[in-house]
């Protein structure tokens, strides 16, 4: 497809001459991949394919390769840009505005929770920290019991997880953890709290620690270097800088998709639209964006469920200062975890949480830390000695934890209202206490939970007293999220969900949803592998239905 819109997206002078890293995107473009950069379109366009997939992240990528492999013509729509290893310079100042939704500053309606979500080819998989967990069995049990998802068992899903683990090189990380993670391991061990190694989707990882800014060595097996290139090699078309505005619905079918072309900065519309016609439409824009697109499209929603039950794994942080260097910016992030505070209590009881150790880079750490001026500068001056733990709260398993609801702003953009309930605050306090105790057990000089009123406590006793006295409230407590799930709940019961167990949208014959927005609750673990495995199964069933033949398996 050579057209005025065709653009390789790279200039030869862009990349380092003789870089030691081969760039698979550059090579693919040279082989003739059909990539249209919406920013370069000088006029409106109409495209046509068997299937259009909206979003190129975990769900969209897996679906694109599966369908292309089964001989279907596929168009992938992405709001962000096509970037690759030659663009990934490990600079926060460049990475956050170019690779994340809303410059990594997306927020809930009351601005109390900051949300990290990818916006680039590969979606969040291009910028995530590689943590790979199968969907925990207690989560699946809950879905079976409360949402009638009887086929969502660990046994049924196991072959799909295995296939995706092999496809994406998910394996045990044998390199010793960096000090930031090892402190979690040592502190937990002192207290008799079990901790274990995290599986990672990497191949030939250099152990640099910059996964969140795009992998500069292509070691991370994100959608950007796996399924999307595979689909493009099979003739799929990728349209970038194109925001899916609305699905045009006629009767019980989707007729077409209307996209707004965005300028090269990804901020403003260029004024051109791209219309895409297809036999089948797959929405995979991620939680928040997928339900918002369906709302803008007036998709059927007789029970008012669309956008509701959106979950975040509300995440809170504790910063410790150690005598020795921790260098949390160096080495693979998140290689040790503890599920102790998930496994030792009922899933539908008080909210539980997973503990991990995030990477620490100057921009992300400095903006996350509370306060300003001298006190803030004093903490930053000890940057190499800072250790951080985070707690991901498992939301959605209790009547007091119904998550948030997506709505549309006056301009049609998505807005998530996520009120933090007392049920969640109770878990936040317990998580702050548990993290402080582990950090002191590991030898911390001081520990300060990220809360505007918290002090840098000098002992576990002082921390216990201090944290128990803190007032837990939005804005003074730092709450973040990197895992957005739900909003297009999956259930065959139309009173419980807008999408069936097979991923097909209730009431529209040719529309599927294949992303984390399907999940009826949060996952209780980093969600990427849940999305890969579950959408691989859905995509195979869809391919079989569209072609009449069994779907081809994905292989590395």
């Amino acid at each position: 497809m050579i057209s005025p819109g065709f653009s390789p997206g790279f200039s030869p002078e862009n990349g380092p001459v003789g870089s030691p890293i081969a760039d698979p995107i550059q090579a693919g473009l040279a082989r003739g991949w059909k990539v249209i950069d919406g920013a370069t379109l000088a006029a409106g366009r109409t495209l046509e394919a068997d299937v259009v997939i909206i979003g190129s992240g975990a769900g969209g990528g897996v679906t694109a390769e599966t369908l292309a492999k089964c001989g279907l013509s596929v168009i992938i729509i992405e709001e962000g840009a096509l970037k690759s290893s030659r663009d990934f310079k490990m600079r926060e100042a460049d990475a956050y505005p170019t690779l994340y939704q809303e410059s990594a500053a997306r927020k809930t309606k009351d601005k109390a929770i900051n949300i990290l979500q990818g916006r680039t080819v590969g979606g969040s998989t291009t910028v995530n920290w590689t943590s790979s967990f199968r969907t925990p069995t207690p989560t699946l049990d809950y879905w079976q019991k409360h949402f009638g998802l009887s086929s969502y068992t660990a046994e049924v899903l196991a072959p799909w997880f295995l296939m995706m683990e092999q496809r994406l090189s998910v394996s045990t990380w044998l390199t010793p953890p960096n000090e930031n993670n090892d402190l979690l391991k040592r502190g937990a061990a002192k207290l008799g709290i079990p901790a274990a190694a995290i599986m990672r989707n990497v191949k030939g990882c250099w152990n640099l620690g910059y996964c969140g800014m795009g992998c500069p060595t292509n070691a991370k097996q994100s959608m950007l270097v796996t399924t999307i290139p595979a689909a493009l090699d099979l003739g799929a078309t990728l349209l970038t800088h194109a925001r899916a505005e609305r699905l045009v619905i006629k009767g019980d079918k989707v007729d077409s998709l209307v996209c707004t072309a965005l300028d090269a900065s990804g901020v403003a519309p260029t004024g051109h639209t791209v219309t895409v016609r297809a036999k089948h439409f797959v929405v995979a824009g991620g939680a928040i964006n997928s339900p918002a697109l369906l709302m803008r499209s007036h998709a059927p929603d007789p029970h008012g469920l669309l956008g509701t039950r959106t979950f975040l794994h509300p995440t809170v942080i504790s910063a410790g200062i150690f005598k020795q260097r921790v260098d949390g910016f160096a080495g693979a992030p998140q290689t040790i975890y503890s599920d102790h505070f998930l496994d030792t209590q009922a899933i539908d009881g008080p909210i539980g949480y997973k503990l991990e150790a995030p990477p620490l880079h100057p921009l992300l750490l400095s903006t996350t830390l509370a306060g300003y001026g001298r006190a803030h500068a004093d903490t930053m001056a000890q940057f190499p000695h800072v250790h951080a733990l985070l707690a991901l709260l498992r939301d959605g398993f209790n009547d007091a934890s119904r998550g948030g609801a997506v709505s549309l702003s006056g301009t049609g953009s998505a807005l998530l209202d996520y009120p933090i309930t007392q049920f969640v605050w109770d878990g936040v306090k317990r998580a702050h206490l548990a993290m402080a105790e582990i950090q002191f057990a590991a030898g911390a000089k001081t520990v300060q939970p990220v809360h505007e009123m918290a002090a840098a406590y000098t002992s576990w006793d002082a921390a216990k007293k201090g944290i128990n006295a803190l007032h837990y409230k939005e804005h003074i407590t730092r709450v973040v999220s990197a895992h957005v799930m739900g909003g297009c709940t999956m259930s065959d019961d139309t009173r419980l969900g807008v999408v069936g167990a097979n991923g097909r949208y209730h009431g529209l014959a040719n529309l599927s949803v294949h992303d984390g927005s399907l999940f009826p609750t949060s996952i209780g673990a980093n969600p990427q592998l849940s999305i890969y495995g579950i959408t691989a199964r859905l995509a195979a069933a869809l391919a079989q239905e569209l072609t009449g033949k069994p779907a081809a398996r994905l292989v590395a």
């Binding site: 100042a93 809303e102 009351d110 640099l208 300003y372 803030h376 500068a377």
Partner: protein, 166 residues
């Protein structure tokens, strides 16, 4: 508490005035006007006290470079978020609103560091969510713009990314 009620009124009044001067239309890119730039220049040294260089010439250059990076960071946000920041700075550029909301009486170029630090502290814990979220926005924009820049890294012992690939 009186200040809180007055602030709410001023916000409402200032918002109405601003909307009268700027009728709703298509969302525009953020523009950092002279008074807004002076406001940021006044807030940067308070937010970054203890981090900025001490030498006056270096300090002045660091402040204006940080303000400019904040400007660019705002211009990378979605247009509706740019509009929210534009509205905040438009309000802060109005002398009555500035006096009530920040206590800075003699104009931004003459604001002293103590005045600025004290209004930031009030906003940080303010019962009006709008001022509290404004504090957090300014916190993240200013502090983020400072530590994103390689010039700040040696002071905190951050070696930066691997040179061979950077």
């Amino acid at each position: 508490m009186k200040v809180g009620a007055l602030a709410a009124l001023t916000l409402a009044g200032g918002g109405a005035l601003y909307r009268a001067l700027h009728p709703a239309g298509q969302l525009q890119r953020f523009v950092l006007g002279g008074e807004a730039r002076a406001a940021l220049d006044a807030m940067v040294p308070a937010m970054l006290a203890g981090a900025l260089p001490a030498l006056p010439a270096l300090r002045a250059a660091a402040i204006s470079a940080t303000t400019e990076r904040v400007h660019q960071a705002i211009r990378g946000l979605p247009l509706n978020a740019q509009k929210e920041v534009q509205d905040l700075f438009a309000l802060l550029a109005l002398a009555p609103a500035r006096r009530v909301l920040t206590g800075v009486s003699g104009g931004w170029p003459n604001a002293n560091a103590e005045q600025v630090a004290s209004f930031l502290q009030r906003w940080r814990f303010h019962r009006l969510a709008m001022l509290q979220t404004a504090y957090h926005a300014l916190h993240d924009l200013i502090i983020g713009s400072w530590y994103a820049d390689p010039s700040s890294w040696s002071a905190i012992g951050y070696p930066g990314p691997l040179k061979e690939l950077a």
